[in-house]
């Protein structure tokens, strides 16, 4: 009996070892791909795709820091990528296996090189801005027709927030997104790493926090679409997905997205391969598949985020390529800022401030 169990265990171990070579495990953000693409990948390559999702950079980062995540492709955002490269969490990409590299867009590559010099470790998946999702009708009812809905006044003026509280406001639970916006609002450098400057946003956030129904980084998509909340400070494509879902449901909910006129954070989600990926070969195959112009366009057409693939623009539907909320015009582009990672000490100050803001203590 014992021999039999042992034998079975060995067989099982063997089986998992065998399957690792034709399996690709991808860990990406939630609501971030057209699932038909996943089926298409399996069909074209014969590889089995295991696709898991997360909704915060922190969750991904902890897996990367612990090591042995078992994933072949992960998608951290710029600042997180930079730190994870520094601790040696990723392997350099093999350019010979990425034949679709020529499709990439130099405008975006130049910006992502701030985080990953030479783009040696990562390829841009999507990029976007952080801004305001508004349920137009409800906000007009509460604040009046002529309140501008593209200004951070909407969420950082206490009197506006006090009135909006009745219909619900969600903020991203991401200090690295909200604090730069608050800094931009009070006229400071949004990328400031000076604890004294960062501390200036605390009274502002404290004044509006009682009126924030929830700090969460993915629930607002459904909440906006269902009309449960009327304002969300969130990621561009997520809000545009909410807009689309609301339009499909046809229940009279109309959502719009604006990058704030005071300036908006521009962020980049980068595909990278963990240093201990079980199947780096398959990971490159997946990257190259996504870098194909038509595939990338299909993903963007589905999730309403811009991508870093110039060739894909020929295949984008007008709703995406012509929407300045997704592909900003030159004027808006100038108004976008990017941020760099906080050093450990400053990170603690930021997290502590964020906890105080969220809990009121």
């Amino acid at each position: 009996m014992k021999g039999k169990t042992l034998g079975a265990a060995c067989l099982f171990a063997l089986a998992t070892a065998v399957t690792a070579a034709d399996e690709v495990r991808v860990y990406n953000w939630s609501d971030y791909i057209d699932e038909e693409l996943l089926a298409k990948f399996e069909e074209e390559t014969g590889l089995k795709l295991i696709y898991d999702v997360f909704d915060s950079n922190e969750v991904l980062e902890t897996k990367m820091l612990a090591g042995g995540s078992g994933y072949d492709v992960v998608v951290p955002s710029g600042t997180f990528l930079q730190r994870q490269i520094a601790v040696g969490a990723f392997q350099k990409l093999d350019p010979t296996k990425l034949t679709n590299r020529a499709n990439l867009w130099d405008v975006i590559e130049k910006r992502t090189a701030r985080y990953d010099p030479g783009n040696e470790y990562s390829v841009n998946y999507m990029w976007g801005t952080t801004g305001l999702g508004v349920n137009v009708k409800r906000v007009a009812e509460v604040l009046g027709e002529d309140t501008p809905i593209n200004s951070l006044d909407l969420i950082f003026k206490p009197e506006n927030m006090a009135r909006l509280a009745s219909c619900g406001v969600h903020f991203l639970d991401a200090p690295a997104e909200v604090i730069p916006a608050a800094l931009a609002y009070i006229g400071e450098d949004p990328d400031s790493h000076d604890p004294e400057v960062i501390a200036k946003v605390e009274p502002l956030l404290m004044a509006v926090r009682p009126h924030v129904q929830k700090f969460h980084s993915s629930e607002y998509i459904n909440a906006l679409a269902n009309g449960d909340i009327c304002v969300a400070f969130g990621w561009s494509g997520d809000i545009l997905q909410a807009r689309d879902r609301a339009a499909e449901a046809d229940a009279g909910v109309e959502i719009v997205y604006h990058a704030p006129s005071e300036g908006a954070l521009m962020w980049f989600d980068q595909m990278a391969i963990p240093v201990d990926a079980p199947n780096p070969e398959g990971a490159h195959t997946f990257l190259n598949f996504i870098m194909d112009a038509e595939n990338m366009a299909q993903a963007s057409n589905y999730v309403f985020y811009a991508n870093g693939n110039l060739a894909s623009q020929a295949f984008l539907v007008p709703d995406v390529i012509d929407d300045t909320a997704i592909y900003p015009d030159a004027e808006t582009l100038e108004n976008l800022y990017i941020t760099t990672p906080y050093p450990a000490k400053v990170q603690r100050t930021v997290t502590r401030l964020w906890t105080r803001v969220k809990s009121g203590t």
Partner: protein, 293 residues
């Protein structure tokens, strides 16, 4: 021989699944945060020897916990939420257990089944469905609005009330089952005797039934209180920004600050907070048993 092996099993379990993990957490709590993978130093290596390794450890992270009021506030708030939910669960669970124990014999199996049945669905799905019930456009508000009980939708989701609802709902079987077990064994003739001796029904309940089900109540309270204290899923799904709980603080130390040593220190203190009352309680129990003998 066989007996020794059987007796060893619980100890091995305790060693492998409690003491060893706890020692690892304790070790991390004594190290320093670093830009590394995993993100703390020193890491143990056989070549440097155990003594050099131990000399690099210190209690810095524990002293750090005393410098910021966030931590004790979170511990206190968790204790308060856990205590309130335990009390609520007891108040609701006891009558249910009592009714089950008093129900006709042939019904009991079905009633028991109804209490256990929800466990067959994932805990996460059950908490999620509460979000659908309690949200502003949710079933509860639609029902109350439809009946004309309220004119404005109630804001329940993302408040402390939702957290209490979630905790009580999730943990109530853990309260019902031990109390039911105690009441089930209760000899009915004792109550008859009390009534014969002039007790009113209510008085017999307080003087006979409740004291005899004491062990069930205590077991139920522990089973609810302990997991609630460190609860993370329910407050993060149903709670709002104001729900401060130690599970959440631990999460933030671990994920947002990437400070595994401080996160581990928070966890060690939480275990100590839990162990001390349990040990005191057990000593008290033993003394009582000795006194009775």
């Amino acid at each position: 021989m066989k007996r020794v092996v059987v007796a060893l099993i619980p100890y091995l379990w305790l060693l492998g699944l409690f003491l060893v993990p706890f020692a690892i957490v304790l070790k991390i709590s004594l190290s320093d945060v670093a830009m590394a993978r995993p993100p703390y130093l020193p890491q143990f290596s056989w070549s440097e020897g155990i003594s050099t390794f131990l000399s690099q450890l210190d209690f810095e992270n524990f002293t750090f916990l005393t410098t910021d009021d966030l931590y004790w506030k979170a511990y206190l708030s968790s204790l308060q939420i856990a205590a309130t939910s335990t009390l609520l669960t007891l108040l609701i669970g006891y009558p249910i257990a009592y009714a089950m124990a008093r129900a006709p014999e042939q019904w009991r199996a079905i009633l028991m089944m109804l209490v256990i049945l929800p466990f067959w669905t994932s805990f996460l799905i059950r908490v999620y469905s509460w979000m659908g019930i309690l949200s502003q456009e949710g079933y509860l508000n639609q029902l109350l609005l439809g009946l004309g009980v309220i004119s404005e939708p109630l804001i329940i989701l993302n408040t402390k009330i939702a957290v209490y609802i979630g905790i009580v709902y999730t943990y109530i079987p853990f309260m019902i089952l031990p109390i039911y077990a105690a009441l089930h064994r209760l000899d009915n003739s004792l109550i008859e005797a009390a009534e014969d001796l002039g007790c009113s029904r209510a008085k017999a309940f307080w003087l006979v039934t409740v004291p005899l089900s004491r062990n069930g109540i205590i077991a139920g309270c522990f089973l609810v209180f302990i997991p609630t204290l460190g609860e993370f899923v329910i407050p993060s799904l149903l709670g709002g920004s104001g729900t401060l709980m130690i599970g959440k603080v631990l999460w933030e130390e671990f994920f947002n600050n990437r400070d595994w040593p401080v996160a581990s220190a928070v966890a060690v203190v939480l275990v100590l907070i839990l162990i001390i009352p349990i040990v005191l309680f057990q000593q008290n129990q033993q003394k009582q048993q000795e006194a009775e003998n």
